[in-house]
């Protein structure tokens, strides 16, 4: 979903740039609470993994493809504030080094994928987690559903931005319909990848999964009598 330069006009790009700067500034403060000697290297790995995973476009039919956005995945693994920073670093490296996503569109891309993607993904994750039993295994379906929701949400916000400041005279309603439809399909891929990755981390090191903390904290110690 990397927006190139030129899709949106200058005022819209300046506005999304300001939103992105504010969102990243808040995240720089918030992430301190999530990061310590143990979780900081994990956050670095998660950002690197999202970069690598975004190189893998998977086909979704009709000559279209999609790739992981990774906002929900990163939020569940390292917490939403750190996740905003993870995705922002990915987008910065992609724009500067790989010419993937425009430079004037960097604010738009951070807004869509690092802010909307992460916060919608995390918000839905927390809601679903609340509905499920308080177990570490509940984190997996909750993460997948958060991931599923995050992709069309980011697509819808792009369409709104296009309605406000699109450079081409195209009906915004048509863009919204097509964007959301295709990104629901891509969201299914997002959900599958997110679920698989979260499941493998939960299986090996549940203590490194931020979204599993409440379940780990309430896990009661039981007194077992020795087997004779």
């Amino acid at each position: 979903m990397h927006v190139p330069d030129g899709f949106l006009d200058a005022p819209t790009s300046v506005a999304t740039g300001a939103v992105a700067v504010a969102g990243v500034a808040l995240a720089l403060r918030g992430a301190r609470r999530e990061l310590d000697d143990r979780t900081a290297p994990m956050a670095g790995l998660v950002a690197t993994f999202v970069f690598a995973a975004q190189m893998i476009n998977f086909p979704v039919g009709a000559g279209t493809s999609g790739h992981l956005l990774g906002g929900a995945l990163a939020a569940v693994l390292v917490g939403p504030w750190s996740a905003v920073l993870c995705i922002s670093v990915v987008l910065l490296v992609q724009a500067l080094l790989m010419a993937d996503g425009g430079i004037t569109a960097l604010g738009t891309n951070v807004t869509l994928m690092a802010l909307v993607g992460v916060w919608v993904g995390w918000g839905v994750f927390v809601l679903v987690r609340r509905l499920l039993p308080r177990r570490t295994s509940s984190v997996v379906p909750a993460a997948a559903i958060g991931a599923l929701a995050s992709v069309p949400a980011a697509a819808a916000v792009f369409s709104l931005l296009f309605a406000v400041g699109g450079n081409a005279p195209v009906d915004p309603g048509t863009v919204l319909g097509a964007m959301v439809t295709w990104h629901v399909v891509i969201g299914i891929g997002e959900a599958v990848v997110t679920g698989l990755v979260v499941a493998s981390v939960v299986a090996t090191r549940p203590d490194l999964v931020r979204g599993a903390l409440p379940a780990l904290e309430t896990r009661e110690l039981e007194i077992r009598s020795p087997v004779r």
Partner: protein, 109 residues
């Protein structure tokens, strides 16, 4: 699994995904590009200011072999990402209280 082992395995996965598996990725346009083409605003896209970067479009300039060119760009990207993001998160982390050495015990089993 010890945290060190976990991180090393994770990095290996990143290198394999970016360096090897990326060659097999779908080359179809992504959702946004496809919708832009279908609804008629793809032409409003402009070339990025970094379009002549030596790693532009995930291929390494000067490397003819497609598989090697893309794989190398992916590996360089992974190394840059790891250094940049780990540096940022390490600088942001809460410093643990040095008076309490118990805090420093690796919880890995």
């Amino acid at each position: 699994m010890k945290q060190r082992t976990f991180l090393a395995l994770g990095l290996l996965v990143c290198l394999l995904v970016a360096g090897v598996a990326s060659y097999y990725a779908s080359s179809h346009p992504d959702g946004l590009e496809y919708v832009a083409e279908q609804t008629g605003f793809l032409d409003s896209a402009e070339d990025s200011a970094t379009a002549d970067s030596p790693l532009a479009d995930y291929s390494t300039r000067g490397v003819e072999d497609e598989r090697l060119s893309g794989g190398l760009a992916g590996v360089i990207g992974v190394v840059v990402m790891l250094l940049l993001s780990s540096g940022l998160f390490w600088a942001l982390r809460r410093r643990q209280d040095k008076a309490d050495p118990a805090e420093h015990v690796d919880s890995g089993v």
